[in-house]
């Protein structure tokens, strides 16, 4: 059984590409089909971007650890950061029925995360956010 892939970097926009590259490594390792690769990339990007953009308001970015795993047809994406406490329950939900003038430009990321993942788990442990997303992947 392959060990999970793990990368820890400062939560900056410049490091987003590195985090997303880890998805390609996982997909290549397990021969995941293109649609699964795209879905996992989207899940990972949306979750990582939320940390980069919102977890460290008014201070230097802290660390973000991304861990990716795939076993028994399920891919898991785990993010651990030492930013402000933030539960997915607190995430804004976009009004998808709003017209273009009323539509806010944010809030879609969490909506995509909820739609694309089959399981979502969050915990706050030792002043760190732990978010795990799981998705069944057909190979």
């Amino acid at each position: 059984m392959a060990t999970p892939l793990r990368l820890t970097k400062s939560a900056t926009p410049a490091n987003l590409t590195l985090f997303l590259t880890l998805v390609d490594v996982l997909a290549d390792r397990h021969g995941l089909p293109d649609q699964a690769r795209g879905d996992l990339r989207l899940l990972t990007e949306e979750a990582c971007t939320n940390v980069v953009m919102h977890a460290f308001p008014g201070r230097e970015p802290g660390e973000l650890t991304l861990e990716l795993d795939y076993a028994d047809g399920v891919a898991s994406v785990t993010l651990i950061d030492d930013g402000v406490a933030f539960s997915p329950d607190d995430a804004p939900r976009p009004d998808l029925g709003a017209d273009w003038q009323s539509r806010r430009e944010g809030g879609v990321g969490w909506h995509l995360i909820r739609n694309l993942s089959d399981e979502l788990a969050y915990d706050r442990v030792d002043e760190k956010n732990h978010l795990t997303l799981r998705k069944r992947v057909a190979t």
């Binding site: 926009p13 987003l16 590409t17 997303l20 590259t21 649609q35 795209g38 990339r41 989207l42 990007e45 949306e46 971007t49 980069v52 976009p94 998808l96 029925g97 017209d99 273009w100 003038q101 539509r103 430009e105 944010g106 879609v108 990321g109 909506h111 995509l112 739609n115 694309l116």
Partner: protein, 114 residues
């Protein structure tokens, strides 16, 4: 590493922004800049051709929504062309279909401005 390319051209008085590659949190700012530049130079009728785009995230949607708001405030519009399957899925999940018009190709989208 995923590529990103953007070319801007004029077609019958309409600005066509052709995008290729991945439009994500890293590359979407370049799309936003191109749309802002077009608006700043007085071009409020814009088509964004996504025929070469295989991946788009919420960052892409934010850039496009800002473009829609800017063009409509200036009396024009932003319309989309050649939105592919996976990208279309993201648009539908985000409820974008009710906000921006989609066409099969850039020529048809440009012609729709009349």
């Amino acid at each position: 590493m995923r590529s990103f390319d953007l070319q801007t051209r004029s077609e019958g008085g309409v600005t066509v922004v052709e995008v290729a590659g991945s439009v994500d949190a890293v590359t979407a700012p370049r799309l936003a800049e191109a749309l802002e530049a077009a608006l700043a130079s007085g071009q409020a009728r814009i088509v964004v051709d996504l025929g070469g785009v295989a991946y788009a995230s919420s960052a892409a949607l934010r850039a496009l929504l800002a473009g829609v708001k800017g063009t409509r405030a200036a009396g024009g519009d932003l319309r989309l062309a050649a939105v592919g399957g996976e990208v279309g899925k993201v648009f539908e999940m985000a409820g974008f279909d009710g906000i921006v018009e989609r066409f099969d190709d850039a020529a048809t989208a440009a012609a729709s401005f009349g």
